[in-house]
């Protein structure tokens, strides 16, 4: 009997232990903790491909307010966020993110959406760069290393999203975390300096109602769950670039 008892107890313990583990699993499952662990990468550790940063933009909630553009300008010090580029024509000035209105001519259905670097998995800008300045970080953020950029602008030609700009004149008083200068190409960095600090990009902070930022590789992140539930459109999906920026509400 004693032996049996202990056996039963052992089994019970095993079952209880299993349940406890299952409960702990559920506690982690909502994604809050997992996301936080993913974002709180120690500062001295390199980024890894375990994370792929993405952005989901719900154009149904977009009310043409331009807040995302203004936030980006103030954060990264371009456009109205700086006093530079006084001698450049409006179409020459840097434009990291722009507001684009798309209209279906037949039905008249129109939507406004923010357009910026789509942080492609297979970025054409990286393919064409002759120096290796245009590169993709392990975590999927596509950047220009201005230390190596020679300003040839091949990447600007290659980008199907018109996401990149060239700086034509001398700049001063840049943001310390967002260096930019004459003779180099630049584009949306997905606010890499903020992301590395575990924060959301400036545009997302300014417009949390229609933008979600997160790790596409984590099935429990808010962005992955939203994409799994309602899906998202890739712009120019026919190019098979697999952009990290997805849109909702573009039902043309």
């Amino acid at each position: 009997m004693n032996n049996n008892d202990s056996l039963v107890n052992q089994k019970r313990r095993a079952i209880l232990g299993g349940t406890a583990a299952a409960i702990a699993g559920i506690a982690i499952a909502p994604g809050v903790f997992l996301t936080e662990t993913a974002q709180a990468r120690p500062v001295d550790e390199p980024v890894s491909s375990k994370t792929r940063w993405g952005l989901l933009i719900n154009t149904n909630n977009c009310n043409d307010c331009n807040d995302c553009v203004t936030a980006c300008q103030n954060e990264n010090g371009w456009g109205t966020g700086s006093n530079d580029e006084q001698n450049s024509a409006p179409n020459q000035k840097a434009q990291w993110i722009r507001s684009v209105k798309v209209t279906d001519k037949q039905t008249g259905y129109a939507k406004t959406l923010p357009m910026m670097c789509q942080h492609c998995e297979k970025p054409p800008c990286v393919d064409v760069c002759p120096t290796g300045a245009s590169f993709k970080r392990e975590d999927g953020i596509v950047l220009v290393d201005k230390h190596i950029c020679i300003g040839c602008r091949y990447c600007m030609m290659a980008c199907p999203y018109k996401a990149r700009s060239f700086v034509h004149e001398k700049l001063t008083d840049q943001r310390s975390y967002a260096p930019r200068g004459m003779g180099t190409v630049e584009s949306c960095t997905l606010c890499v300096h903020r992301v590395d600090n575990g924060e959301d990009p400036a545009c997302v902070e300014a417009c949390s109602s229609s933008m979600i930022f997160g790790n596409l590789n984590d099935p429990d992140s808010e962005i992955s769950k939203e994409l799994a539930r309602h899906g998202g459109t890739q712009i120019r999906a026919d190019l098979r670039l697999n952009p990290g920026v997805r849109y909702q509400g573009l039902n043309f």
Binding site: D44, Q174, S176, P179
Partner: protein
């Protein structure tokens, strides 16, 4: 032969004296010290600062490693020099920390074509302390 040798020695001494004299005309740069201890001893920083920031540059750019040791931003924030008006001086001013030596050594630096040459109090993301 002996006369030639003597002449040579004299000319070398004269040349050396002239060199010393020229040196005496150009004041040695006295870059200001930052607050507290630097990340490396002064003599090492003098010779190797460019290696340190170059190495850190690639790590930060490519791998997202943003430690504050050898961080360019950290150099700028510790060694910022204020002018008479209480504002930080820019690289077009000889008093700027980097410029004090680089002007003397006649070495052009490209860093500030893109990077901020002064710390900004308006920067929302201040440097994190050494982790």
């Amino acid at each position: 032969m002996h006369v030639m040798h003597l002449l040579k020695t004299i000319s070398v001494v004269v040349l050396l004296l002239t060199a010393i004299e020229v040196n005496a005309d150009v004041p040695k740069p006295k870059p200001i010290h930052g607050e507290g201890e630097c990340v490396e001893p002064e003599d090492i920083m003098k010779r190797n600062h460019m290696e340190f920031i170059l190495h850190q540059r690639d790590e930060t750019m490519q791998e997202g490693i943003r430690t504050s040791k050898y961080s360019f931003k950290q150099c700028i924030s510790c060694h910022a020099v204020k002018g008479d008006d209480g504002e930080y001086v820019h690289v077009d001013d000889s008093r700027h920390f980097c410029v004090t030596c680089h002007e003397y050594a006649a070495v052009t630096i490209d860093c500030f074509q893109c990077h901020a040459d002064t710390p900004r109090s308006t920067d929302k993301h201040e440097l994190r302390v050494n982790e």
